[in-house]
């Protein structure tokens, strides 16, 4: 389900050329990058003064996105499932002891809401919905974020993440949006809680006293980071990170990987895979090349009936003739990709470290 406007008008011959150069060992990318190299990007955070956190990222292909994070206090719903503690609230209405017992609760998925605005799309179109589902999924899979939204047994923060894609979606915008969200969350701060226990929450009115949503140590280094979602394509035995639109056009498989800091990450060097999704490759819709043997113009013979032509076409694997891939990738490739992403010093690590340097 790639955006139609990202369809490139490449001829079968051009597609075939791209495909074969990407299938080489090592692959040759049209813009000369290595497989794990990202396009340069410009980013800044804290651009919206009245939001809790915000960021803006521009990719060099001209795509640009803004993300804002806003937190609101919301009353928690009592659920029969989350029994005992809630019952206690009713009984002793915020007794000190009970307040201490429940200093940390678990969050719920509904506490994070994301909306994505893509120019030219309605908000219920498939692309924005799908994108926000994927990004939310990664945030929730992280597990720790929603728990941090817990204030007390009666109240929680509700996090609204609004992402605005400023440019037309030239290539698949997932990495752009993910990085922007990452930065926005990294810069997001919540007012400091002053009340105790299960009281109606009361906050310090000094914004300087607010705490980062992703906690930092005294020196300002992050103890935890938001997840990022990367896009990888596989071409033959190779894989390529941060594909350009031309590369996407010949991808045999497109996968989105979300990586986040691992649970027991005191070292925070260890990343873990949070989610993985395959995406319908746009190459499926490219026009197929016709080998000379089947071309009526080349052979001069009458064209075959469509079904016979298809059958004949299926059998050929002529080099240099573009054949839209039908999906699927080798397990070994997938394993390699995952490894490349999450290994210490891997791609995800590199991207996160790069974004850390953006001034908050």
């Amino acid at each position: 389900m790639p955006p139609t406007s990202s369809q490139l008008l490449l001829s079968p011959a051009e597609l075939s050329y791209l495909h074969s150069s990407l299938s080489l060992t090592p692959p040759i990318r049209p813009d000369g990058r290595t497989t794990t190299q990202f396009r340069p990007l410009v980013a800044e955070s804290g651009i919206i003064p009245s939001a809790n956190g915000s960021a803006r990222v521009c990719f060099s292909d001209g795509t640009e996105a803004i993300a804002g994070v806003k937190a609101e206090v919301e009353k928690s719903q009592w659920r029969p499932g989350s029994t005992e503690q809630s019952l206690q609230v009713d009984e002793d209405g915020g007794d000190d002891e009970a307040g201490q017992a429940g200093t940390q609760g678990t969050g719920e998925n509904s506490w994070i809401s994301m909306s994505i605005e893509v120019p030219g799309f309605r908000d219920d179109d498939a692309l924005p919905v799908f994108l926000s589902a994927m990004l939310t999924e990664a945030l929730l899979a992280d597990g720790k974020l929603k728990d941090r939204l817990w204030i007390n047994r009666r109240f929680h923060w509700k996090l609204y993440i609004d992402i605005l894609l400023l440019s037309a979606p030239l290539s698949y915008p997932l990495p752009l949006l993910s990085l922007t969200t990452h930065l926005a969350l990294l810069s997001a701060r919540l007012p400091k809680l002053k009340s105790e226990g299960d009281e109606d929450p009361l906050f310090d009115d000094d914004w300087e006293a607010s705490t980062y949503l992703y906690p930092r140590d005294t020196k300002g280094a992050c103890l935890d980071r938001p997840p990022i979602t990367l896009l990888v394509i596989a071409v033959g035995p190779n894989f390529v990170f941060d594909p350009s639109k031309e590369e996407l056009a010949v991808a045999e498989a497109v996968i989105a990987l979300s990586a986040g800091t691992s649970d027991a990450s005191t070292l925070n060097k260890n990343l873990r895979l949070l989610s993985i999704r395959t995406i319908d490759p746009p190459s499926r819709l490219t026009p197929l090349g016709i080998p000379d043997a089947l071309s009526s113009a080349a052979t001069g013979s009458a064209p075959l009936p469509p079904d016979e032509q298809l059958a004949a076409r299926e059998g050929t694997d002529e080099h240099g003739v573009w054949n839209p891939p039908r999906g699927g990738m080798k397990r070994a490739v997938l394993a390699q990709i995952i490894k490349a992403v999450i290994e210490p010093g891997g791609v995800a690590q590199e991207v996160m470290d790069g974004l850390m340097h953006v001034e908050v």
Binding site: S50, P191, P201, L202, D204, D206, W207, S210
Partner: protein, 983 residues
Amino acid sequence: MTSLKRAHPSDGTTGNLSSKVYVRTTRAGKVQKIVRELYLRQDIPCSSKLCTICLSSAPTNYHSKPQPFILSATPTGTKSFPNGHYLVPDTNAFINGMDLFEIETAFTDVIVLQTVLEEVKNRSLPLYHRLVSLTKNEDKRFYVFFNEFRKETYVERDSGESINDRNDRAVRRCVSWYSEHLKKAVGKKSSRCPTVVMITDDKDNLRKAKAESVVGLSLHNYVSGLDNADQLLDMVTEGREQRSTGKAELFYPGYFSLSKMMTGIKAGTLHQGIFNVSPYNYLEGTIHVPAFDKSLIVLGRENSNRAVSGDVVVVEILPKDQWKAPSSKIIEEETVNKDDNADAEQGEGVTTERERKALQEEVKRIHGKTSEGRPQPTARVVGVIKRNWRQYVGHVDKDSVRSSTQQSRAQQTVFVIPMDKRIPKIRVRTRQAGELLGKRVLITIDSWDRESRYPVGHFVRSLGELENKGAETEALLLEFDVQYRPFPKTVLDCLPVEGHDWRIPASLDDPGWKGRRDLRDLLVCSIDPVGCVDIDDALHARPLPNGNFEVGVHIADVSHFVKPNNAMDKEASIRGTTVYLVDKRIDMLPMLLGTDLCSLKPYVERYAFSVIWEVTPDADIVSSSFTKSVIRSREAFSYEQAQLRIDDMSQKDDLTQGMRTLLMLSKKLKKKRMDAGALNLASPEVRVEAESETSDPVDVKTKQLLDTNSLVEEFMLLANCSVAARNYEAYPQTALLRRHGAPPKSNFEELANQLKVKKGMELKTDNSKAVADSLDTCVDASEPYFNTMIRILATRCMMSAEYFCAGTQSYPEFRHYGLASEIYTHFTSPIRRYADLEAHRQLAAAISYETLDPSLHSKPKLEAVCKNINVRHRNAQLAGRASVDYYVGQALKGRVLEEDGFVMKVFSNGFTVIVPRFGIERLIRLRDLATPEPESEFDAEEYVLKFTGARVGRVELFGKVKVRIEDVLEESTGKRSIKLSLV
């Protein structure tokens, strides 16, 4: 990519834009991050008359003139600052020393920084208001400098810097900027350049100031350099840090956090209300909360937890096994804790041994008869929402002054005993203990910490010797918060320029005549107490051809002279009412209006607001009309004169005939009102009809009521009712009305029970009619005074009448219980009551005489007005009574009399007696009867107190006793007052 971010102010000094970020929690619980943009300017003047630079750049007003500069060119100097100085106090200097800044002899030329002003506002609203009024006082030369908006003095908060540190830095920046700026402005004549002095009590700030070579002094150091430093130093607030006793013991439980209280109140587990202390038992407080019909009781110091009478507190209900009946015992602070040492903190418990004993006995008593099932819910205070501390009048407890130090100037801690018995004694540090003994002093409470048994306060000023007439009167006025200062110039400027020569315009074309009826030919007269100078009302009556009568009530047209929202109107709305003391009257309006221009004096033409009815001979109203008018009163009678004239059958003139008509009609009106269930009540000082609503303030000696009193009364009531109905018709939301709520049945329970037990009489309380009727039956043939006494007691069971704004209540709630009137307002005394003035304005608009001022359209504004005048009205009454009390005491000075008295209330260790002849009511304690205190046996069901031991006797409720009246110097208040003792 160009950055979208706002340029950071730290990027360059050229930027004149900055922003301020903070978190706001809305009432609905929403938490918002607020970003305010700040535009920095360079044209905010320093306002020193020395400065010419600022004068040229200062913003100008409509007439292209800048605001006149405030700070003097030759400010006063001290020894250390011979060139004169400007003061720049920081926040804690104002908080700790507001009383100092208000004195007239020092502290002039003060620069109040915006940073400081805002901090003061956040810390204490009352102090903020005082500071703002100081800045408006031209003589004090206080200038508010908006340093946060001036580019040179604005400071950006550094990362990691606390708000306080940042504000301190802002203050220092201002001081150094001012110094440099003034030097530049003064130029070569630098010898005359005043020093800019920062005053702060923050040690860290002082240290930093020194490092930055900014002149800074602590408040204490600065004051020490002034003349009469001793007196001034006493006025500095007792700071917390001055308590040296290190590891203090905590006497009281801590308060809940604000959020915890709010959560509790919302959830209904905690309750909020105003804390009231019983005048008989200082350890017992009551709180009325909406959730319960009966008040909650707070017993003991620990439970009342530092709440002072009048505070808005949050309470928690105690478990049921701790519920108690209200106390039947008198407990007075000065007898229980007689010789506490003010200095010693050690060994103090929250409750002293004796207090505990007193309470213990209480509990025993309750437990003895739990079967009766009377216990009421008790509660404990868990937090204070709003302190209602004011300045208190009191005197220094002489036991707390160390005799050896009476003449020395050393600082020592003494107790000040407030005049109001409900306020605990206050610990005050002073250097002038010796001088203050035997004086009336004014003090304020500063704080009440957990480690202190009594609140800590400071001395404000001395009012004079105890028992000195001036001092006592001033004490009274201060205690009841009566504004008694002379009217300021701004108010006097609102008076007509002609002064006493002002006349009704002769030409009927004059705008003053527009919309007015010429009623000068009516035979109008006024009837008032002897010597009345502010004549509010006048009357007339004349027969109509159809056999009916035309009756007119003419009220002084004050609203013609007092226009809404000018300075005079504001002053009047603050004063709310004229206060009558025995020897003094504190006017609501300046004399010129009250006693001359508005007063309906005889033989001169005056503007009036007239209510005219057509009345049948049976006193039924046929029609009523309202009009602004001009009248000429033919005569001003006193009640006695009027009575004589009516009774003198030889007088046959029209005026007398008119008065006879009025008298005839008033009797019929009264009859009708009584039939409808109006109450005839009594109060102890003087016999006053419940219709004191309109009655003129009563002379102490006036006991005899003439027919003419009730003549005026009836027509005033009628006018008030008619106007109320008319105003309500015109403004159903905003009419200013007066209501008297029906008392809850439980209020009468005690009295009804007492009557049943003691006299076998029945008090029906279903409605006012039933009350009125059954009060009439409560007669003891042998004791004519008995009925009056019951009426006094019944009055105490009632609610107090109050002003309100029509839109805040439903129509059935408008009812005036005492008058049995559906709707009522005050209209007939605009010279001495602000409510009447507002009613005049509304009526004038209702009859399309003029347009209604917007302030009278606004419900919130009217509600605020009502709230204020209700308080003022009540205070005026209390002040009047206290004044009578004082004078009765003075009158009986040095005399010993024996009189008959009646027992009104019985406690387990005492009883109160009322003496009809003087209308005085006093407490007689058992321990006053004999020493040692007689053993007592109190039968609460039969209201009988038997005592044996040193003295044997029996006292029962409503019983007649012989008492000795003598005057004594009361220990607790230092006031001479009357003491009763059993003969």
